[in-house]
């Protein structure tokens, strides 16, 4: 047990929690926006994968990491647009369309990688670029906090800033109002002359761009190349995180961090005497447990309210 504390209390551990959480947080925010608009975006996994590859390819071609990022976002938005097209226009079930896109992404990225490099495994023969890491001047020199918070990839900071941006978008802008309205009652939106399809398209594209950030981070920050199926379920975990976070920006952030915590822990815990399979299972179990706890709390709260209201009369 002591050893676990030792690991967890090391500032480097906290640092790695933030790093591991970043792609999940991006995708969870993406999941949040589309969920608010009433569309389940199960394609996040595939979108991340495609963006990850796009980032590598275009940063290698152009020699600019930021152009790579831009293209990753572009492809994220584009694929989300495709998802929107088939689900909103062609009326394909959105879950199925999501699965299909994941399938296409998984095979398609390897296919494209193969066409470009002759490799099916990894893109290391492309000289792709990395997004910069940022040292925060004053913060950096504060003990404990400095090593935890300073020196992250620029996208890690942006991920946490995005939590605020997404909150702002959803709750403070006209677009956010429309997105929330369309998710709750599309007829209401329709009846005031806002296009339901257009609003959902916009939400999906933003969602895709968020996943695009996650993908770009995977290949241009987290590690420095693309490898097949490298998102390894992070898109699904993001869906779980959003759900666990009660479909709020802050909640999504906290549950992404929770997952990140257990993931980072699972990376370190191996050094203790626990079979690695158990340790690897930890983040997923934690997610399910988190999901259950969240939903139990919700039902309990409602139940308590009910009982209180029913007994009020008796007291009077």
């Amino acid at each position: 047990m002591n050893a676990v504390f030792e690991i967890v209390l090391n500032p480097l551990f906290a640092f790695s929690v933030l790093r591991v959480s970043t792609p999940i947080l991006f995708a969870a925010l993406g999941a949040l926006i589309s969920d608010k608009a009433g569309v389940i975006n199960i394609a996040l996994e595939g979108i991340m994968l495609i963006s990850a590859l796009a980032g590598v390819i275009f940063s290698a071609i152009s020699g600019s990491a930021f152009f790579g990022l831009f293209m990753a976002l572009f492809f994220g938005g584009l694929v989300a647009f495709g998802l929107g097209y088939v689900s909103l226009k062609l009326k394909t079930d959105v879950i199925l369309a999501g699965i299909a896109i994941n399938l296409i992404a998984s095979g398609g990225t390897v296919f494209v990688l193969f066409l470009l490099t002759g490799d099916k495994g990894i893109s290391s023969s492309l000289a792709s670029k990395l997004l910069p890491k940022i040292d925060i001047p004053i913060l950096k020199s504060i003990p404990i906090l400095g090593p935890i918070l300073s020196g992250h990839n620029i996208l890690t900071y942006f991920a946490f800033i995005s939590v605020f941006l997404v909150w702002f978008l959803l709750y403070r802008t006209p677009l956010g109002l429309r997105i929330r309205a369309v998710g709750e009652n599309e007829h209401a939106v329709d009846s005031v002359g806002i296009s339901v399809v257009k609003t959902r398209f916009i939400a999906l594209i933003i969602s895709g761009v968020m996943a695009g950030f996650g993908g770009a981070y995977m290949t241009m920050g987290y590690i420095s190349w693309f490898s097949r199926d490298m998102t390894a379920g992070r898109g699904f975990i993001a869906l779980a995180a959003e759900s666990m976070g009660g479909a709020t920006p802050l909640g999504s952030m906290l549950s992404s961090l929770l997952f990140g915590f257990f993931d980072a822990l699972s990376n370190s815990l191996q050094l203790l005497k626990i079979p690695y399979e158990f340790v690897s299972m930890l983040p997923y179990v934690a997610t399910v447990v988190g999901l259950v706890i969240y939903t139990t709390q919700k039902t309990k709260r409602m139940h308590r309210m009910r009982i209180k209201a029913e007994s009020k009369k008796e007291v009077l």
């Binding site: 403070r172 802008t173 006209p174 956010g176 109002l177 429309r178 929330r180 309205a181 709750e184 009652n185 007829h187 209401a188 939106v189 329709d190 009846s191 005031v192 002359g193 806002i194 296009s195 409602m302 309210m305 009910r306 009982i307 209180k308 209201a309 029913e310 007994s311 009369k313 008796e314």
Partner: protein, 519 residues
């Protein structure tokens, strides 16, 4: 086409994806400064026609002219741009947003990127003052009573600068008093030069309010009339195609022992509101007990509690002396309780399954429908459903037809056939004739009386005052979750008084209400 028409629709035909032809070559036009009635039986295609005008639906054939020029209305956006506003039959509001947010949605006041909440509130107040429609800008829409929701809907249309205002059955959920108020407001709007299209089933209202009226039947227009030139009887004849008698002949009830006993029942909903508040009454074999009241005053929750659909906190419900608190829906049904749900599409049927499978429903466990080896007895199921279809005059191509491809009235008949064919002891009928045409209504009402005479106890919940007054042997009025009045003798009771009970302006004293328990 009349030359002074500000807006006209020509030769409109609309086919829904399920093959239903809702409009067939309809011509329709309105003038500036008039209130134009649009009447027709349920399913005649009124809503569809107006949705086409408002861009929520697209016609397959036909043209729309505005001030003589042909226009395309392919979305509500386009309609709003032409100054057309619509108040929908089913509310189109976002429950978790506030009144002002609902009102300005789509035309949000902004400060830079930001949605300017306080301006929204201000706009709502101004508008509310200007049109004399009082609303609370800060209230969440889900907390509003229906009457207020209606006002928000009207303000929504006005805020968008509607010159032509379509009101699709705005009075269905209002009390007589609220109605008078609304009519005054509509007349004022008309006098300011707006055009109003008014859809209603209540011909008296049409007579009182409208200048002209268009009558529809089975997807076709039957012509336009000046209201002064026609009587209510004329209109209903044109609507239905024959003379209608809506009076059901029935003998005086012979109530026997009590079947249902509701004692101090209290139900609290998930928003922490006491929706049924300390209600007691009993229902006896061989009588029809009506429950009147404006929708949303606890009727639904009462029905849910009795049928096992919703849980309740305090009090008790006894069916045949058995407390049903812990019983499942199945067990309650096994006590001989049948249930016609308020919302047939959400509760009463499985739209993509066949008529046969819908007729089976809660009876699927019965021995007669099951064979050895766990197999269902398909031929019995077929025969029994064919029989029911014949007996209840259900119009369908075969018992294999999917229910969603049938008309509303026929779907209702499927439900009624299923629920009535079982020799039920207790029938809870919630809005049994809502949204179905006169013929079917007549049929269902007669059946209800028949079942009563055979000894069933009937709890009839209806928003249709006529229905309650005509069918019930006695009735309750619900207001704010409470029983506000118990009327034992329906024959000498007038609508005006009923309206006051429904609005909570008057209520009986405890003793009078206590008679509902029959002890």
């Amino acid at each position: 086409m009349t030359s002074d028409a500000v807006l006209s629709m020509e030769d409109i035909t609309k086919v829904y994806p399920n093959g239903i032809v809702a409009n067939k070559g309809v011509n329709f036009s309105v003038r500036t400064g008039e209130i134009h009635g649009l009447v027709g039986e349920n399913g005649a295609g009124k809503t569809t026609l107006m949705q086409i005008l408002f861009g929520l639906n697209q016609a397959d054939v036909g043209k729309i002219f505005f001030n003589g020029k042909e226009i395309k209305i392919d979305s509500p956006h386009a309609a709003i741009a032409q100054g057309i506003g619509m108040v929908h039959q089913h509310f189109m509001l976002v429950p978790s947003l506030t009144v002002s947010e609902n009102l300005v949605l789509g035309l949000e006041p902004r400060r830079g990127f930001i949605f300017d909440k306080s301006r929204g509130i201000h706009i709502t107040q101004e508008l509310s003052k200007k049109y004399n429609l009082k609303v609370e800008p800060d209230m969440l829409v889900r907390d509003l009573p229906v009457g207020l929701k209606q006002k928000v809907e009207i303000l929504k249309a006005l805020y968008r600068g509607a010159k032509i205002l379509i009101l699709d059955e705005p009075t269905a959920v209002l009390t007589p008093q609220e109605m008078v108020e609304l009519f005054n407001e509509l007349r004022q709007l008309r006098d300011e030069g707006n055009t109003i299209i008014f859809i209603s089933h209540k011909l008296a209202e049409v007579k009182a309010l409208c200048n002209r009226v268009t009558v529809m039947r089975a997807g076709k227009s039957q012509g336009v009339f000046n209201v002064e030139d026609v009587t209510e009887e004329d209109i209903s004849r044109i609507m239905v195609g024959r003379d209608v008698i809506l009076r059901v002949e029935k003998d005086v009830a012979q109530p026997k022992e009590s079947v249902l006993k509701v004692n101090r029942l209290t139900v609290v909903n998930s928003f922490n509101k006491r929706v049924v508040d300390d209600i007691s009454f009993s229902l006896r074999r061989g009588e029809i007990l009506g429950v009147a009241g404006v929708e949303g005053n606890g009727q639904r929750e009462l029905v849910e509690a009795i049928t096992g659909f919703g849980s309740y906190g305090l009090g008790s419900i006894l069916i045949d002396g058995e407390d049903i608190k812990q019983l499942s829906i199945k067990e309650i049904r096994d006590l001989g309780c049948s249930h016609i749900p308020e919302d047939r599409m959400s509760y009463g049927c499985a739209p993509t399954l066949s008529v046969r499978m819908n007729l089976l429903s809660y009876k699927h466990n019965r021995r007669e429908f099951n064979r050895r080896f766990f197999l269902m007895h398909m031929s019995t199921i077929r025969d029994v459903s064919t029989e029911l279809v014949k007996e209840y005059q259900i119009l369908c191509t075969s018992t294999e037809q999917e229910v969603r491809c049938m008309s509303g009235g026929n779907i209702q008949k499927v439900i009624v056939a299923r629920e009535f064919s079982d020799n039920p002891k207790l029938i809870v009928a919630n809005q049994p004739t809502r949204g179905i045409d006169v013929g079917a209504t007549e049929f269902i009402r007669k059946r209800l009386v028949e079942l009563r005479d055979r000894g069933a106890a009937v709890l009839l919940v209806s928003a249709d005052l006529n229905e309650v007054m005509e069918l019930s042997d006695s009735f309750l009025v619900m207001y704010g979750g409470k029983i506000n009045a118990f009327i034992e003798d329906v024959s000498n009771f007038n609508e005006e008084k009923l309206g006051q009970y429904m609005l909570g302006l008057k209520s009986q004293d405890v003793d009078e209400i206590g008679r509902a328990l029959h002890d």
